[in-house]
């Protein structure tokens, strides 16, 4: 027992000393970069932050969520070095600087066997609110529509609702899914399903042979290319915002996040890198 006690004390002491040393070194050397805002950008910013840290060992990137509005107000108030906003700046926000690091697009997807090849905005709204419940009402087979929607809090849902001016309580889904993969699998497995997922994910999976098709919107094909050239309507920019011209580490981070060095991270999150 005595020996055990000594061992335990030693371990605790070593831990304490190590912790103290770490705190001290933190105080002297480490520079902290705080990003707050959109929960859509946060996972991407965290990944970029990790890679940035590996190049700059004296920098710690701290990413916090709280929505685009928080990102903008934090950047303006100086509470964060960089704000994250998954939308363009409004008129009264033009005092801030805006750096687009990626684009996010959402595509409506159907099963490949579905004869319907296009739906207009009102038809999609009616399908999602339950007013149209059968494909024959929009020129398809006589079959009940399976409406696939996303779980609360997902950025795809947010963008979808915003574009169609809907509230989530208006939507009458038959299936609710989590990530894009699950959405694609659900639609691929059900000939009468309609869903919406990130353009990047849908285009990739369709290219890999998933039995889905991406519906054009307002006559514009849903493709990564059209999201990149900003002609596809159901899309939005993912922005980093700062108050005034950024300097020092913030400048380096923004340059890094806008460079092709992070394209793989952007694509891994099914966003679209901006044209360089």
């Amino acid at each position: 027992m005595k020996k055990l006690g000594i061992v335990v004390t030693l371990i605790v002491l070593t831990g304490a000393v190590w912790g103290l040393l770490r705190i001290q070194s933190n105080e002297t050397k480490i520079e902290k970069l705080v990003l707050t805002g959109s929960s859509t950008i946060a996972p991407l910013a965290a990944e970029i932050g990790k890679r940035f840290e590996s190049f700059h060992s004296n920098v710690r990137v701290d990413v916090q969520t709280g929505g685009s509005s928080r990102g903008i107000s934090d950047a303006r108030a100086g509470l964060a070095n960089i704000g994250m906003a998954s939308r363009g700046l409004k008129e009264d926000e033009k005092d801030l600087l805006n750096f687009t690091i990626a684009l996010d697009g959402v595509s409506i997807i159907l099963n490949k066997s579905n004869p319907v090849n296009a739906l207009d905005k009102q038809q999609i709204i009616d399908i999602y609110t339950g007013k149209i419940a059968n494909w024959k009402e929009v020129g398809g087979n006589d079959a009940a529509i399976t409406v696939v929607s996303k779980a609360e809090g997902r950025s795809t849902l947010e963008l979808f609702l915003h574009y169609f001016s809907l509230k989530n309580t208006d939507i009458k889904p038959q299936v609710i899914i989590g990530d894009n993969q699950q959405g694609i699998k659900t639609v691929a497995g059900n000939p009468d399903a309609i869903g919406y997922v990130s353009v990047g994910a849908a285009e990739y999976e369709a290219g890999q042979g998933a039995v889905i098709k991406l519906l054009p919107l307002a006559g514009i094909a849903a493709s990564v290319e059209n999201v990149r050239n900003r002609s596809f309507p159901l899309s939005r920019p993912l922005n980093l915002v700062t108050r005034g011209e950024p300097g020092g580490v913030a400048r380096q981070f923004i340059d890094f996040a806008s460079s092709p060095q992070v394209n793989d991270l952007i694509e891994a999150q099914f966003f679209v890198p901006v044209a360089h």
Binding site: A143, G153, V175, I176
Partner: protein
């Protein structure tokens, strides 16, 4: 009670370990309450029952449809898996030739080791379209129950098998000496003697079914509505947390911890009921 010095030390050590395990459960509960506190402060507890729907972003927090979905799916899976599991154990223990029984047991063990997400994936790509032909869209309480049944079946089969194996040989020999038929031996001696082991196995399986997340999430449809038939889409409490926690902030996140508390309470109630069950002891 007289204890040696080493015994006292061992008792102290074991006691602290036991205390630690018990404390962890309490700490988890405490943590759940702490994390859900922000929303509990300004949302009355009753609103988790009386609200119109579950739309936490818009401040609507009805949890009850998910509570019943969890209960129904677990109950359904237990009802299906119990007879199948017992039948499987009886087959391998009393009817199959030894070689076949060995192979069969290995297979069931393999089934128990399949990760749940694989069951979910299989359910999504095979079972859902199949049931969809019967009653579209296919993702439903029924699909959830079937996948859960598959998942807990090996648990039931293996624990019942072990309970049957633990029936003292003397009982079996005595029964044979009395000239009982094989079925009389099973129904009159083996099953009653293995009763407590079988109950424990079913409870273990129920625990697995309640806690199962990914497989159910993939096949049950996840719409938060009180199910009216087995073809309705349902969302269980576990699926709710897994679906939304990654992108939840503020009150939404806290409300998800409330579903965690609801789940924990459900498990506590079930364990409580199991404890109250009268334990008759046969042949002891």
């Amino acid at each position: 009670m007289f204890l040696l010095r080493t015994d006292r030390q061992l008792a102290f050590l074991l006691g602290s370990c036991a205390l630690l395990s018990a404390a962890i459960v309490l700490l988890i509960l405490l943590f759940l309450v702490k994390e859900s506190w922000p929303v509990l402060q300004h949302v009355a507890l009753m609103r988790f029952v009386t609200d119109a729907s579950w739309h936490p972003v818009q401040g609507l927090y009805k949890l009850t449809p998910m509570l019943s979905a969890t209960l129904y799916s677990t109950l359904g899976a237990i009802l299906l898996a119990t007879p199948l599991g017992i039948a499987s154990a009886l087959f391998s223990r009393y009817y199959a030739p030894p070689f076949l029984a060995g192979c069969y047991r290995r297979l069931v063990e393999l089934l128990a080791g399949v990760p749940s997400v694989v069951y979910g994936f299989w359910g999504l790509t095979t079972l859902v379209p199949l049931i969809g032909r019967l009653h579209p869209p296919g993702v439903s309480l029924l699909t959830g129950i079937l996948v859960l049944t598959l998942m807990i079946l090996p648990t039931v089969a293996l624990t019942v098998d072990a309970a049957l194996a633990a029936v003292p040989v003397a009982y079996v020999r005595s029964a044979a000496a009395l000239g009982l038929s094989r079925w009389s031996l099973i129904s009159g001696v083996a099953l009653p003697a293995a009763r407590s082991g079988i109950t424990a196995g079913i409870l273990l399986a129920a625990g697995r079914a309640i806690g199962e997340t990914m497989a159910v999430l993939m096949v049950a449809g996840n719409v938060v509505e009180q199910p009216h038939s087995i073809f309705d889409s349902v969302r269980t409490l576990t699926a709710n947390i897994a679906l939304e926690v990654a992108y939840a902030t503020g009150d939404h996140r806290a409300a998800l911890f409330v579903s965690g508390i609801a789940l924990m309470t459900l498990v506590l109630v079930l364990v409580g009921i199991a404890e109250c069950f009268p334990r008759k002891r046969y042949y002891d």
